[in-house]
Amino acid sequence: MIAEFGLAALWLAAALAALQLIAGALALTPRGAALAGLVRPVAVVQGVLVALSFAALITLFAQTDLSVELVAKNSHSMKPLIYKISGTWGNHEGSMLLWVMVMGLSGSFVAAVERRLPEPTMLATLAGQAFVSLGFYAFLLLSSNPFTRLSSPAIEGAGLNPLLQDPGLAFHPPPLYIGYVGLSVAFSFAIGALVTREVGPAFARAMRPWVLGAWIFLTLGITAGSYWAYYELGWGGWWFWDPVENASLMPWLAATALLHSVSVLAARNALRAWTVMLGVVAFSMSMVGTFLVRSGILTSVHAFAVDPERGSFILGLLALNIGGALVLFGLRASSVTEGERFTATSRESALVFNNVMLSAILGIVLVGTLYPLLAEALGAKVSVGPPYFNPVSAIFAVPMLLVLMVGPLLRWRRDSLRRIRLQIAIPAVLLVGTLIWAASQAVGLLPALGLALSAALAVASVMPLRGRKLRQVKLPVWGMVTAHFGIAVALLGMASDAAFTTERLVAVRAGQVVDVGPWQVTLQRIEPVAGPNWTALRGDLAVSYKGGSVTELHPAARTFWAPPNETNEAALKTRWNGQLYAVLGQATGDGRWQLRLWWKPFVPMIWYGGILIALGGLMALLGRLASDLKRLVARDKIAYRRMRQGR
């Protein structure tokens, strides 16, 4: 029953999306104006229905209903409940339903609360949202139905990939999806504004919270995904330039650029066409990412569907949505470009520079991600990795970070560097000083640059607060300062990991002591342990920092039986100044065990930095929402007064 209910809800939601598209489009014409009242309620109900459908799928997974094909293929009755639930989106069909649900819910939210846009733009936006949704509904219902029943129920499920059985991995897709799909709202806004040619500060102010919200979730998702890869895969790295990681980085880069250009548009009514373009590009990158991950043209831990039909379906959607948006942009761009001017030394210029550099990095990541696929189509096997991505993206990241230190200090429209020379001088001295120090420590070029930029940016990012009464500083400014400071923190972690990591790889007997950096590590014993659906060999390590108090670490090698697989559970010991990372290897046959140990100074800063960046975004979002609310209340008061006065 539940499966049938879920499927029915999904079909109904799809039908409502079609109605929303038609009514929204017709309502823009003079003859269809009567339909205008229909669009918002339909959008709300559509979101509710698709959410019910997703709830039905979660229920099926929680109950391990083995008469449903998807559950039988991806779950197992012996699994802990939270992994049964996370198994709902740990597969192709479920994750697509999650995507459509987030899209439907954000559509209902826009329909329910957004009152700043002119009504025609709003109708066009909701129609655009419905158009994009419809493609994904068709994809789900026609080629990836999650509710298909088996002709006879399975006796037992096939299980969930053990790599996915980890709290970090199980719960990092939803925030990423909220981020991806949140950008669909920005996309629909851009379409709506292009259709009605209403691109201006009001449009930017309406769009900004959505961009901010999506960007916060993307930032958190990427941060969590990176930390998951770092501890779960056991190889001690935090970023691999894997196509799937790039798939989340590309929309983030576009959203970061969009976030800054939308601020220029809101504050200064400039960069109109560019902002609309970025709105289109940002969501396009989400879709390109989905295509890469879900089409089966690349193999990765995250890519489940190896099915050419689905690949071509998503490619078709991609071409239709992105192509359509670009054609619309081409037709309308010339009529929305009029904007305010600014000089070369101004806040606008710095933000334009940031936008161009972010776009260049985005281009580099995109080329590096697609090139192997292109080469493969031409018959060559190529792998693109850190030797390409690191230096080439650094060429654009370094100047961007340098301008980032100056930009927030500049005034809008027209300013001079002489006015802020003192604020620039301090970070500049720090930058050069750190570079000289790093050179004396024989640190590589990129890590040295990272350390120097980190030190300078940490100081430069708080400069905008200088000479102000801190209590009167507005929340969005605090947000900017926090996010920029977060970049400095994350950079410190990245550069320090690259520059100062110490590694030991040894084979030891029980009782032997190994030194790694300032740590002493003793292997005490290896013992078998068992969990709910796995058994493991666990190492008991006694570790002490510089001969201080002793604590235990337990790296383990786990064996799962459904499906049969082994995973390596690294063990971490975090201090304020870094992390000890221990991996248990294999037995060498003569009573020794392989141990891989890393001392990584300041590496957790990478993720603390990511959290700070997201927190900065949250502060900005709350600040904007609060001032929007104030404006709304004021407007209502005026309207009420007028009504009382009988006008």
């Binding site: 193999t299 334009v352 550099m357 590096g368 693109v384 080439v392 790889l505």
Partner: protein, 148 residues
């Protein structure tokens, strides 16, 4: 300066930066991308020593040997045409076994052997290193069967 001129200049700057990024990317890809070699390619047309490449094939039965330090292993990667000795210092993936497929990332040594920084095997039952999917030799087909 008119607004129109300013827009034009901005668009030109953006265009130059993006084209620059594209050219840079293309140049870097030509010189830096690590290329994939099968043992037969490796023997017939060896990569220059020291350049980062990937070598993929089957792990020869009986060829995995662990050195006295317990962490350095040597093994042979082969296809039906050639064999390449590989040295690797580290912890191999759990699914790295003799007779199965593997990809070694590393560099050719002057003596023709391969020094690996990293060894990839089946990630799990669904994950095959991408390059191994199209290997045409009998062993590779076998590997693909195994990894299904």
């Amino acid at each position: 300066m008119k607004a129109k001129h300013q827009r034009l200049i901005l668009a030109l700057i953006a265009l130059v930066a993006l084209v620059g990024a594209g050219v840079l990317a293309a140049w870097a890809l030509r010189s830096q991308a690590s290329f994939f070699y099968l043992p037969a390619d490796y023997a017939a047309n060896p990569p220059e020593a020291g350049r980062a490449v990937r070598l993929g094939g089957m792990v020869e039965k009986g060829s995995i040997k662990t050195a006295a330090d317990g962490v350095t292993i040597t093994f042979v990667i082969h296809d039906d045409k050639a064999r390449v000795p590989v040295t690797f210092k580290g912890i191999v993936p759990d699914l790295f076994v003799e007779g199965s497929g593997a990809v070694a990332e590393g560099r050719r040594q002057p003596d023709g052997s391969f020094l690996a920084d990293n060894v990839l095997a089946k990630h799990d039952e669904n994950y095959v290193p991408r390059e191994m999917k199209d290997m045409t030799t009998e062993q590779a087909r076998q590997a693909i069967e195994e990894t299904k």
